[in-house]
Symmetry: C2
Subunit: 273 residues, 2 copies
């Protein structure tokens, strides 16, 4: 039995998120994991169930999701991506694969994750996203103060209790997490991205960080209020949860000793700089 | 009664083309014209039927389609785009509008049209398009010789009988058309676009030009064969019709005296250079 890890990219627009799920009456919903598992069955000719590193929500995109699975197969590792992608619909693809130790756990072994939240801002028609990429950003009116947002973002860096920045029912014992980097990049006029890198995230955390930074960008909150929001440990102290379409899971990092796969830059994969 | 002309952009992926149509049993198919006309009814509160300059096929995109309609309305012309786009789904938008003479005919008055045909080429995974824009290019294996394609493209420029480059049932009396510009641009490694500018086009003409240039790019045909293909006046002398997703109608030009609308460059509109 081999254990393989793969890097998966998807346009989340038409998926009910990563994780396999069914409707109350038992019919399967279209999920990324469901498509990947079905492709694995076709390619590996055996039942295979993947474990994903991040259970992205419905509508959330990924260019660097990581998943692992066990399979009895002699397929050369360098052919795995192509074989799986050929068996997948066009909105999901496998861009890298590697043999990993039998104990590899994509969730537990992750040492850092990078997310991007992209926002178009201003007044229409300025806010209309590029037609070709329209499903990959959220829209906010009116124009945002990116400098103030950047100031607020920097105050989130560090190890804090992120209760205020998580869904009320995040379901974890501790809400203490470490943000390694948080910044705002003006990509082009009327378009910015929030970049967040951390060792782990709570449910909805990046979308609530984005919603809080948007409040700062609108001038409704000041960057200096971030420490008191953190101290409040109360979801009501922060901004709204931004919609899923602006969010993209960029990359997940593992200790080099595990040999986890890294997306080739030619496939539009993770940019770690 | 005013006559207005609008510039329309759409992602053709989910449309049965521009022109309103119904299934054999009479139920309406989703078309761009159908969506625009429905939005006009909502905004103008009267029945309105547009006339489009180009009946793009199912799956074909446009960033510079032009349509015209008559309406009894006092809406300021500068508010038309925003009002219509607000009433439209996210895959179609109106980016410019202008009052035009009562006699303005978007088909007859057009003096030139520009099309782009975008191709990813090489071997997978090189050919995998950027995930965010994956619906906006066609894929060809293996790598194409862009220089040879450019040489062949140049030989199409001029006034010729384009019978060989049109659908057999193009339905026009004369197949003589004038190509003003035809070239191949290498956009990035493994990605090129064919740009075609002409005074008028026959059914499937750009997609057959693209298919023929691809044959040249594969080395199956030589650029020097273009004149004999034209002379043959036989559809069987040229390459295959390329799929619709690579094609995009970029712009349509009218005599300046008619005051037809021009898409603002901020909306990703026509580039005439």
């Amino acid at each position: 039995m081999r254990r393989l890890a793969i890097v998966v990219q998807y346009d989340g627009s038409s998926f009910h998120g990563w994780q396999r799920q069914t409707t109350p009456d038992g019919s399967p919903l279209r999920t990324v994991q469901g498509e990947i598992d079905a492709a694995l069955v076709r390619v590996m000719r055996q039942p295979v169930t993947t474990r994903g590193a991040s259970r992205t929500d419905a509508g959330v995109h990924a260019v660097g999701q990581v998943a692992a699975f066990n399979a009895e197969t002699t397929i050369p590792v360098e052919r795995v991506s192509l074989a799986l992608t050929s068996a997948l619909p066009s909105d999901v693809r496998v861009v890298a694969a590697a043999d990993v130790p039998a104990t590899f756990d994509p969730i537990r072994d992750a040492v850092a994750k990078g997310y991007r939240y992209r926002i178009r801002h201003g007044s229409p028609p300025t806010t209309w996203p590029d037609l070709e990429r329209r499903g990959w950003s959220a829209t906010v009116w009116p124009e945002l103060d990116a400098a103030a947002m950047g100031e607020a973002a920097a105050m989130l860096v560090g190890t804090h209790d992120f209760t205020s920045f998580a869904h009320t029912h995040h379901g974890r014992e501790s809400a203490v997490r470490t943000i390694l980097r948080c910044g705002v990049v003006e990509e082009q006029p009327s378009q910015l991205r929030i970049e967040v890198v951390g060792t782990g995230f709570l449910y909805n955390m990046v979308r609530i960080i984005a919603g809080t930074l948007v409040e700062v960008g609108r001038g409704r909150r000041r960057p200096q209020e971030i420490p008191e929001m953190l101290a409040a440990r109360d979801r009501r102290s922060t901004g709204p949860t931004m919609p899923p379409e602006g969010l993209c899971l960029m990359w997940i990092e593992y200790p080099p000793s595990l040999g986890a796969p890294i997306a080739p830059p030619t496939a539009g994969g993770p940019r770690r700089s």
